[in-house]
């Protein structure tokens, strides 16, 4: 640090960048329905995603009722079970988590956090949401068509996904494929926005290394999604052709219902490659935004700079890059050259290294922090626990020999629910509790929040911990009922019943949460502009909630990274990103109140 006295103008010359031309809606509909404001689009995305997510939750309860009490309820038949597994999985992974993290949080947070007025292509952004909504509606429509939704499993493996005998072969699978294709098109429109906005619309002083980790996470996840979704796109198109026009990309010659089908020579393995080329990065598309957001939430509520910021950035980008070369660990059971198996097992284990670095850094951020145990913080810490848990079982499954007996059992169900179901959902909750005061101007209720947190955390552990044991016992996944199978001990049925009860408790907790969200819009405690005393730009807006254009007349100028908490010597325990060095008050100066002409240190 030098001895030169800086004054603010020298540090940041007056704005000379071309301001973004903002679109100004004139009507109510233009403002709230056909809106081009990223904040409104974000809320549209989030509400739609949560709504369809509740459908997926309801489906899981129906499945759990069947599994826990096989002969008591008879609400669903075996076909329904398969259909519900499929819709539950697909909705949760794609239509809820991907859409919520990127379309919801991405839209809301990117422009605000980088100091932009809006996304760079607002019109495209608007279309993106409406295409997404179309995709969701088409998916929902498949519940009402003849034959119902597809029951092929969320992996949609051919040949069974388009062969007679699988539920939803008439219309369900077609609607599923069309819906996915639309989703990808819509996402690509949004994704272009997120990437270009981060690259091009950052305010003055917001160098890449001053971006909050939230933005890094969403940005990298978007890059992954833009490159990985094409694999799903390509496979959906080819499967549609197989189904509708009778081509044989994926469909081998086979005898179905006693008759030779017209298909010949296609390769189901080809589909698996394409699907998992998308499917594995998809895990990180969901995880990276969660990583980013949880880093910021931990740092803010622990009043401590994130530990190893630069390492965190590299870990995010490194994980992203590596995630493209591990996909075949989902195909160990399909069989492959042992050398490939070795290769993919190795890359899978290597990816654990940057992931572990992130976990250490989170823990070290908490270490000796001045922890404020707010609701977002509780969820964030819950995430760290759960993620470690799910990550460890992932190491088991990454090894070919361990994976073979465990594949397609409840061990896998427990693993991926922990790592990509519960963990990101906990971050979603943390993020909603954290940013809700900015979005609405009011806090969510604290007591209800605590109830929600403990019921959700303990409940999900009660659901998924026992499932590991069921997996060891060999209980296969995607089964409607187990009957009197020899390997299944009697107690495992009791365990299943207990899991179902826990699932209902968790679901009830979500109702508390939804109630809290709706009630607090008008009834919550007013929050002010920066209730958590956070440093990032979204908390420094002139109005809360931020208005069209986000910031006041002048865009904020950024002088520092996002983690100036408890800066040694500084009087305040946090220094927002847009506070120039000359305006920072230091403890020794605070007494002789000289005024802000400059500081030397």
């Amino acid at each position: 640090m030098s001895d030169v006295a800086h004054d603010a103008t020298e540090l940041a010359p007056p704005a000379e960048l071309g301001e973004m031309e903002l679109y100004h809606p004139k009507t109510w509909i233009g403002k709230y329905v056909w809106s081009q404001d990223a904040k409104t689009i974000a809320i549209q995305y989030a509400v739609t995603a949560i709504a369809i997510g509740l459908v997926a939750l309801a489906l899981s309860l129906l499945m759990r009722l069947q599994l826990g009490f096989p002969n008591s309820f008879n609400l669903i038949d075996p076909s329904n079970y398969l259909q519900f597994v499929t819709m539950h999985g697909m909705i949760m992974v794609i239509y809820l988590l991907t859409a919520l993290f990127l379309g919801g949080f991405g839209n809301y947070l990117i422009p605000l956090m980088v100091g932009a007025r809006d996304m760079v292509f607002p019109y495209l952004n608007m279309i993106s949401y409406w295409v997404y909504l179309g995709a969701v509606l088409i998916l929902v429509a498949s519940f009402f068509v003849t034959g119902g939704p597809t029951g092929s499993g969320w992996t949609l493996y051919p040949p069974q996904s388009i062969s007679p005998g699988t539920p939803g072969i008439d219309w369900g699978i077609i609607l599923m494929l069309v819906s996915l294709i639309l989703f990808i098109i819509g996402f690509t429109m949004g994704g272009l926005n997120y990437v270009v906005t981060v690259l091009q619309a950052r305010t003055r002083g917001m160098s890449l290394m001053r971006l909050p980790l939230t933005v890094w996470g969403i940005f990298t996840a978007t890059v992954l999604a833009l490159l990985a979704f094409p694999a799903l796109f390509v496979s959906c198109i080819m499967m549609l052709l197989d189904l509708v026009l009778g081509t044989s990309f994926f469909m081998p010659a086979m005898i179905s219902l006693g008759e030779q089908t017209a298909y010949d020579g296609g390769s189901p393995i080809l589909f698996q490659h394409l699907f998992w080329f998308f499917g594995h990065p998809e895990v990180y598309i969901v995880a990276l935004p969660a990583f980013g957001m949880v880093s910021d939430i931990l740092s803010t509520h622990a009043r401590k700079a994130i530990f190893g910021y630069r390492m965190m950035v590299w870990a995010i980008v490194g994980i992203g890059a590596l995630s493209f070369v591990v996909w075949a660990h989902h195909m160990y059971v399909s069989g492959m050259n042992p050398l490939f198996g070795f290769f993919f097992a190795t890359t899978t284990l290597i990816i654990a290294v940057p992931t572990a670095i992130k976990v250490y850094n989170w823990v070290l951020t908490l270490w000796q922090g001045n922890i404020r145990l707010t609701i977002p913080m509780m969820f964030a810490i819950g995430f760290v626990f759960t993620f470690i848990n799910g990550g460890l079982t992932g190491l088991f499954l990454g090894n070919v020999t361990v994976d073979l007996p465990l594949s397609d059992t409840y061990f896998v169900i427990a693993h991926f629910h922990m790592v990509m179901g519960v963990s990101p959902i906990l971050v979603v909750f943390a993020a909603i509790y954290h940013w809700y005061p900015k979005i609405t101007g009011r806090f969510l209720d604290d007591t209800l929040g605590k109830i929600h947190f403990w019921m959700t955390l303990l409940g999900t552990y009660a659901i998924y911990y026992p499932m590991h044991y069921l997996g060891f016992e060999g209980l296969p996944r995607r089964y409607f009922a187990y009957g009197d199978t020899a390997f299944m001990s009697e107690s495992s049925q009791d365990l299943n019943a207990a899991i179902t009860i826990a699932a209902f408790i968790v679901a009830a907790a979500q109702l508390v949460f939804i109630y809290n969200m709706i009630r607090s819009i008008t009834g919550g405690k007013p929050a002010g502009d920066n209730p958590w005393e956070a440093t990032t730009l979204e908390w420094q807006t002139e109005h809360t909630p931020p208005q069209h254009g986000n910031f006041a007349e002048d865009l904020p100028v950024v002088y520092r990274w996002a983690y100036d908490y408890a800066l040694p010597g500084a009087k305040d325990d946090f220094i927002p990103q847009n506070v120039p060095p000359s305006a920072v008050v230091y403890e020794d100066e605070a007494d002789d109140a000289e005024g802000g002409t400059g500081k030397t240190s």
């Binding site: 800086h6 540090l11 940041a12 010359p13 000379e16 960048l17 071309g18 301001e19 973004m20 760079v120 292509f121 690509t188 272009l192 990437v195 270009v196 690259l199 091009q200 619309a201 950052r202 305010t203 003055r204 002083g205 160098s207 890449l208 290394m209 001053r210 833009l226 490159l227 990985a228 094409p230 694999a231 796109f233 390509v234 052709l241 026009l245 009778g246 081509t247 044989s248 990309f249 020579g265 390769s267 080809l270 080329f277 700079a305 910021y309 630069r310 950035v313 590299w314 980008v317 490194g318 992203g320 890059a321 493209f324 070369v325 520092r560 990274w561 100036d564 120039p580 060095p581 920072v584």
Partner: protein
Amino acid sequence: MTFTVIIMVFIMGGVVWWTVRQTIGTTPWTAEESTLEINDIGFVSSQDGIRTHSMKIGLGVFLAVATSVFALFVSAYLIRMELSDWRPLAEPTLLWANTALLVLSSICLQWGVISGRRNEFESMARGLLGGGVFAIAFLVGQLMAWDELAAAGMYLNTNPANTFFYLLTAIHGLHLLGGVYVWGTTMIRTRSPADNERVKLSVELCAAYWHFLLVIWLVLFALLSST
């Protein structure tokens, strides 16, 4: 999948290289140090304007997405080709003429770009016109090639080689059709001189997109006719 993996390694390698270059040696946790550079990083300089720059980067990102789509199709092609029922297709010779049309189309647009840079807007408009007309001619030519194949009894599902031929040409054609739509809106704009600067930007974007699709077509054409 090797083909796609190689492409991905390049793209992701680029991303990693870019981040490392942007981030190594910076110390974000010191406020003073980097404030002096505040002018050079983190915002767009006024000459270019946020929009021009964003459109170019946006197109670049989209091309990366399209690269991924085509790379995956090529990978699928290479995998499917190995299987026993593959009967190579004799591609219509018309494709050579079509390729020439697409090359001409790219040349015209490039001419438009060069004229635009010299602020010779009339010749820019002519280049643009030529580019679009040749592109449409290419698309018509592709349809005729389909016709020719169908007339010879080579339908979509006669053989996987045929399926891929129709599929790849269709996907490529649809991409070009999207370009032609943008070309159309730009053509309308050329009529008012006030829009010259915007047209210039559009011509540059179109040209970049066209060159990209030309390269893709050459790769696809080589792949289709060599197997």
